[in-house]
Amino acid sequence: MFAKFNRRQFVVRTTATAFGLAAGLRSPAVARAADAQWGDLVGRLIYDGTAPPRQKLKVDKDVECCGKFDIRDESLMVGTDGGLGNVFVYLRTAKVDVCPELAEMAPKHITLDNRDCIFQPHCMAIWYDRQEFYVVNSDPVAQNVAFSPLGDTPANIVLPVGRDATHQFGRKQNLPVPIACNYHPWESGYILPRDNPYVDISNADGAFRIAKLPLGPLEFQAWQERVGYLDMPQWPKGRFTVTIKAGTNDLGIIKLNPLLLVKK
């Protein structure tokens, strides 16, 4: 019981730290404090149309536990004002300098919680050589977490009720890695291991901020789980280059044609 309490506490703390870091990085105060060597990239992704209703997923395992949740498709998360969430925006340029502050502030773990019979959060990024992937089961039924990163050791971790585990990725990925639960096939999630902290996942408003980037021309990548690369005329294969200047580099509002997000 005691051990369980500790574990929960750990989860809460780690998650809070992660959210705190993310919130901190987005805070204008921190951005103002950044010295002239670093710049932030911000933008907002808008779904330029009426989003289809999220389909209810078929839940037919562990129904006594999972059946009570309203589990819906998370592959297209559009906010009330059209913001497109869960889009990975990350630095594609390899071997860049990393702001030392980010290294100091990075939490030790990135946590995936099996809660309410879904993965929470749905999308994650991890600085693979500094952070561990921490998986925990908060549901009253067993879960498993399976993923096969390209060129890296695959894992299929069983999580009995209340158990946790850690996993260390061995290399960076250029594409987010799908996460599945074989017991509950409706569950899905994505994690992007990178060798730097320059990743953000758009929030419910569609906004993203990649903080403290080195200055100069850098190439970025945008990826969404339904369609993969956000392939637009101005972002071929989801890639775009921005010359980062000190301070905030605002891409403004990027409107996405709904046809772009139709599953192929």
């Binding site: 997923l57 395992k61 067993a142 060129g151 069983v158 061995g170 250029n174 074989n182 096939p185």
Partner: protein
């Protein structure tokens, strides 16, 4: 009379004469010695010894010294050797001599005796077995080719050259490019020849090799070494690569034999000293002259070239001229009687005899053996070649064990469908159209064209052909329909509520396995060739009865044709899943569909003119036959009757029938005429005679022809058929008169794509100019050579009747039909047929596989027969790639059970660390590339932007000194560094259906990883023998049942015999390398259930736990896990004890991915970290694993024991005890 000094002749004149004669004799002697000295073999041998051999010696020395980089100064022969090489003197020291291989066990047939073979080919071909792969001399002795390479240059010239731009010499060349030139060239002493390539330098990167001759630099010729120094060091645009045109290798007779790993090499299966040359190549081995050795040209231009170069002329006095190079694989059949033993193997992944194998498969696919017996045994019952006899018609005879002196029964099945119930399927109009020209209905038909090939006929012959063929077609139709007997219909499946739907049928056609064997225009990716193209098949069936028959046939083909290779796909009724099945109104009401009816509806859709769901247009009408001319029928019937009955009685029998009093004596053909004659009876009589004449029963099962013999000449030793016995007749005239010798317009039959066409594309002739090939064969035909005859026979089989037909009766004309073949296919068949020589050398040379290999080969035949490999992968892909060890990404080491760690010999690991001159290491992998949802290879890029892919291992690999396990990380491979790809053996359908199954799973609510979809498809069987128990597999093959509920299609049931099932069991055991004999199961000791150490009750709590362990996904006996999603249901563990091998269960439980890399099963017993399930089974992961494995192996006994044995009472809590 006293003697005087006076002579009767003029002394002085005599002296002059003697002097002249002596001088003449001396001149002749000198001329003789000179001529002998100048004999071509001495020239070749001398050149090799003096110019080539020093390179090989130096290469060997460099290799032995471990330097391995080069030969700058090959040692030239010393003065003594050169002196002994001079005319006259060479008689003493014999530095040059005829070399011969004496092969007493490989005799040659001289007609009157079999004499030992004496091969002197190596007298000239001195380097034939030198330059093995990996040897420094490999490139030197390779086939002469011209290559273009790019030599990188540094961005700036070195300081030394900047100061003095005049080019320097060898030192600068070496330091700048790592390149050195030899002091002398090989054949051309002045040619700039590479003698040194230093590792990790530009020359090594450009893949230059020792012995290469530089011909051009940036397209400008390089006449000599000095010029080359100038071009490489002075006239350089720095930073830009130099384009080098190189000549690599040597011309004949100096080059080495190709594939020394297979042929002639000391470690090859055919070492030179044991096999010699002519056993494979033919030719006169004892000859030392080019012409007398009977070299045979390979293209029409070669004779002129050879004549000029070697003084070649055809040698008509030698019966066994060398085979042209294009047929060199033919002779493999002398010793490789199984033919399938020439398939690529692990030891020889590069196909050893691709063209020959393709020919063998074509003969099997086209059913040549139906008319031409190919018996693999001689009169004494010894194996002399491939055995392709038809299986006996009677099933009892097929299964009978032959007596000792009797040949085993044939095993080939007729390639065409059974016609015993043809009237139920099609009508007379279709049948007549099909027989007249199968390509009219099916352009890719394999059936040969038997009618309407008139290019060799003219005048009266042509008129006769037209009128009699029209009669014959009607007559055959009449006979087939009259002899047809309905097979009792299958009872319809019960409970079906839905009408047939073409839309559902189309989907089922795609995913229920039809595409494994059939093609359809709606699914162009499907390339199955076992069965016919079904795009328009619906149009051939008669509207009602034919359509009904099709439904029943699809449901269970074996009910109608017990020997069909089409299986029962278990198309039982299934619940409707679309079209409103999930609406509220339909809930609670079971709606069932009949998949067989749906598929039939799809195939029939459009038969009435509308395009089917698939869009394939079925609008087709049979051609109208001209009206039957009764007089032609009578005339043809009379021709036949006169063969059987006295000429004076034949007309009477024709008009009035055969008297019933003669019924007992009348042969079967004419029985129909007993008791009276009519038009219908005459038609049936002629039809039966025609079927007998044309040999239709060779491919089809036809009532009344159960014991008929093949109509064509046997091919068992056709490759040695005496040329005078080949009836060339007037073929020369035919060829010359036929308009510019245009081949008859034919399309191509659908024949194996994966096998044949790929093989042929690489067989060396595909790229050749077709016109050149045609000229070659025409020349052979006009010269009355065997290969010319065969070529024409396969191309226009009846053309040998040109101008002869009119001399023969209509029924004596040639009957062979014309097959649709491409030039490559024709040549492949020729390669096979020319190899049928029935000349088996001494027993020790015949390939006799060991028990394991024998089991593999026998199994392969069964696998091929039933096209098992269309669905199942039998061997995964094999890739080889290069990499820079400094940049190669290796995964983090992970914890694993000791017994799972692959054992790779240290020397293999050490070898994997070796790098070549470029500093690159290499590795070979077996497995499959990662695929994305659409079935394409996952592509990514590395930090430098180079495209990479990911390869999932199915066999452990040694890479850069490390062991890579199955189930671990995928290997990242740069696409540009893949050096070799061998495709997988089989599994085409699984790969084709992968995206379809994934899409279907996703549509059903599955969000899991893409890899899992592989588990819903026919599984790879690469480790099947190590996984399953032989007894179970045997039963399963004969009576398959549903194992994996999640699979989109299930294993069908074939008309496979018990013997064939046994061969398959042995095959899988053999390829998996499990212990011999294969047919007995691994014995298991019954467990002592009372032994508390077994802890079976606790293991059972793990096994049956529905919250986390096995029962969460697996069926166990009658227990099913929760959930409706079929995609997550796993096999029934109640079958595991019968089905799986004990050692396999242990591996599987410990790390499922190490056995099946795509499995979704999690690691329930983690090898590291705290063990799970301590509330159910306190103990380590290893203990849990052992206990669960033990329980699975004794599950039924345990259940029985537990049902009859009360559980011990739990120990009282201490408080209560007190």
């Amino acid at each position: 009379m006293p003697a005087t000094d006076q002579s009767y002749y003029h002394l002085k004149r005599l002296h002059r004469f003697m002097a002249g004669a002596s001088l003449a004799l001396l001149s002749v002697t000198v001329w003789m010695v000179a001529a002998d000295h100048r004999r071509p073999w001495r020239q070749y041998q001398g050149t090799f010894r003096q110019q080539v051999e020093p390179w090989l010696t130096a290469a060997q020395r460099a290799q032995d010294a471990g330097a391995g980089e080069g030969i700058l100064a090959p040692q030239q022969p010393g003065f003594g050797k050169r002196l002994l090489g001079l005319p006259l003197l060479d008689a003493f020291g014999r530095p040059l001599a005829i070399e011969q291989l004496w092969l007493p066990e490989l005799t040659i047939d001289y007609h009157f005796a079999r004499v030992p073979r004496c091969d002197r080919c190596v007298t000239c071909h001195q380097g034939i077995d030198r330059g093995a792969p990996g040897n420094l001399a490999e490139a030197v002795l390779s086939q002469e080719t011209v290559l273009t390479l790019e030599l990188p240059t540094p961005p700036q010239p070195p300081a030394e050259l900047q100061q003095d731009p005049s080019p320097a010499g060898p030192r600068q060349l070496e330091s700048l490019y790592g390149l050195g030139l030899a002091e002398v060239g090989i054949l051309d002493r002045a040619a700039p020849t590479v003698g040194l390539v230093l590792p990790k330098k530009p020359a090594a990167e450009a893949r230059l090799a020792v012995g290469d001759v530089v011909l051009k630099v940036n397209d400008a010729p390089v006449p000599g070494r000095e010029d080359l120094y100038r071009r490489l060091l002075g006239q350089v645009e720095w930073g830009k690569p130099l384009k080098l045109e190189m000549r690599r290798g040597l011309p004949q007779p100096y080059r080495s034999h190709p594939r020394l790993d297979l042929f002639l090499g000391p470690r090859s299966p055919h070492p030179l000293a044991e096999f010699g040359c002519t056993i494979c190549h033919d030719g006169q081995g004892s000859a030392t002259d080019f012409s007398w050795a009977s070299h045979s040209p390979n293209d029409p231009a070669q004779p002129a070239r050879w004549q000029k170069q070697y003084g070649w002329s055809s040698n008509p006095h030698w019966d066994l001229p060398m085979l042209a190079r294009r047929f060199s694989q033919s002779r493999c059949l002398k010793c490789h009687h199984e033919v399938s033993d020439l398939e690529p193997s692990r030891r020889f992944p590069d196909p050893p005899a691709e063209k020959l194998l393709a020919g063998y498969q074509l003969v099997g696919q086209l059913g040549c053996f139906g008319c031409h017996e190919i018996t693999g045994f001689d009169a004494a019952g010894r194996s002399v070649g491939p055995d392709m006899r038809l299986e006996p018609d009677d099933a009892a005879a097929a299964g009978r064990t032959p007596a000792a002196a009797e040949l085993p029964p044939g095993a080939m099945r007729k390639v065409g469908p059974s016609l015993r119930d043809i009237a139920d399927r099609v009508d007379a109009a279709f049948l007549a159209d099909w027989i007249g020209d199968p390509t009219h209905f099916l352009p890719t038909a394999r059936m040969p064209r038997l009618y309407g090939t008139y290019e060799h006929l003219d005048g009266q012959s042509l008129l006769d052909a037209r009128r009699f063929e029209a009669v014959e077609i009607r007559a055959v139709v009449a006979y087939l329909l009259a002899a047809s007997r309905s097979v009792g219909p299958l009872p319809p499946p019960g409970g079906v509520t839905e009408l047939p739907s073409p839309a559902r049928g189309k989907r089922l056609f795609e995913i229920r396995g039809c595409l494994a064997c059939h093609q359809h225009d709606d699914f162009p990716a499907g390339q199955g060739t076992q069965g016919p193209d079904l795009s328009r098949v619906g149009a051939k069936y008669t509207p009602q009865s034919g359509a009904d028959w099709l439904v029943r046939w699809i449901r269970n083909p074996m009910h109608y044709a017990p020997r069909t290779r089409m299986p029962n796909a278990f198309l039982d009724p299934i619940p409707a899943t679309e079209e409103g099945a999930d609406t509220e109104a339909e809930k609670g009401k079971q709606r069932l569909t009949d998949p067989a009816a749906d598929i039939a509806a799809y195939l029939l859709a459009g038969a009435a003119g509308q395009a089917g769901q698939g869009g394939a247009s079925l609008v087709w009408q049979p051609r109208q036959l001209p009206p039957l001319v009764e007089s032609d029928l009578d005339e043809l019937a009379l021709l036949h009757l006169r063969k059987t009955f006295p000429p004076e009685l034949a007309p009477q029998y024709l008009q009035q029938g055969i008297p019933e009093s003669l019924a007992e004596q009348v042969p079967g053909d004419a029985a129909v005429l007993v008791g009276g004659s009519s038009r219908e009876k005459k038609l049936r009589y002629v039809g039966r005679r025609t079927i007998g004449k044309r040999g239709c029963y060779g491919c089809h099962d036809i009532s009344g022809f159960e014991n008929a013999q093949p109509i064509g000449p046997a091919l068992s030793d056709w490759g040695r058929k005496q040329q005078p016995l080949l009836a060339f007749e007037q073929i020369n005239q035919f060829v010359q008169q036929s308009a510019a010798d245009q081949p008859p317009p034919v399309s191509t039959a659908r024949l194996p794509a994966a096998g044949t066409s790929t093989r042929l594309a690489a067989a060396g002739t595909a790229a050749q100019d077709t016109a050149t090939d045609r000229s070659f064969f025409l020349e052979a035909l006009l010269a009355n050579r065997r290969e010319g005859f065969l070529w024409q026979k396969l191309r226009s089989p009846r053309s040998f009747d040109y101008k002869v037909a009119q001399q023969k009766g209509y029924n004596e004309w040639l009957t062979m039909g014309r097959f649709q073949l491409t030039d490559q296919q024709r040549e492949a068949i020729m390669t096979f047929v020319l190899g049928l020589v029935a000349e088996t050398p001494a027993e020790k040379f015949v390939y006799r596989p060991g028990p394991q290999r024998k089991a593999v080969l026998a199994g392969r035949k069964v696998l091929d027969k039933y096209a098992c490999a269309e669905c199942h992968t039998l061997q995964m892909e094999q890739w080889a790639f290069e990499f820079d060890p400094a940049k190669f990404l290796a995964p983090r080491p992970t914890a694993d059970y000791e017994f799972l760690k692959p054992q790779i010999p240290p020397e293999q690991l050490a070898a994997s660390r070796r790098t070549d001159l470029r500093g690159l290491a290499s590795a070979e992998l077996e497995g499959m590339p990662r695929l994305e949802a659409a079935g394409k290879i996952v592509a990514d890029e590395d930090d430098e932007g180079r495209p990479v892919c990911f390869f999932t291992l199915w066999e452990p690999a040694a890479i850069d000194g490390r062991v890579w396990s199955v189930g671990g990380a995928d290997v990242t491979i740069a696409l540009a560094q893949i050096t070799r790809k061998h495709p997988p053996l089989g599994g085409t359908l699984a790969r084709l259906l992968y995206p379809v199954a994934l899409k279907q799973g996703r549509g059903a609510g599955f969000n899991g990883a893409e890899a899992e979809a592989w588990g819903w498809l026919p599984p790879p069987l690469v480790h099947e023998g190590a996984a399953v128990q032989p007894a179970w597999l045997y039963d399963y093959l004969l009576r398959p049942y549903l194992i994996r509920p999640a699979a989109v299609l299930r294993m069908p049931q074939f008309s496979i015999s018990a013997a064939e099932a046994g061969k398959l069991v042995d095959y899988f055991a053999a390829v998996s390398g499990v212990a011999f004999p294969y047919t007995s199961g691994t014995p298991r000791q019954a467990d002592d259930f009372h032994d508390p150490r077994r802890r079976l009750d606790e293991a059972a709590s793990l096994l049956l736990d529905r919250t986390m362990y096995c029962a969460k996904c697996h069926l166990i006996g009658d227990d099913t896990p929760g959930g409706e999603l079929r995609t997550i249901l796993a096999p029934n563990l109640g079958q595991a004890e019968r089905r799986l091998r004990p050692e396999y269960i242990g591996r599987w439980l410990a790390n499922p991915r190490s056995v099946l890399p795509y499995t979704p099963m999690p690691v329930n017993f983690p090898p590291a970290g705290p063990p799970l399930g301590q509330d159910l089974f306190p103990g380590s992961s290893q203990q849990q694993l052992d206990a669960v494995a033990n329980l699975l192996l004794n599950y039924h006994e345990y259940r029985l024991w537990r049902a009859t044995t009360p559980r011990p009472a739990p120990p009282h809590p201490p408080a209560q005890r007190e």
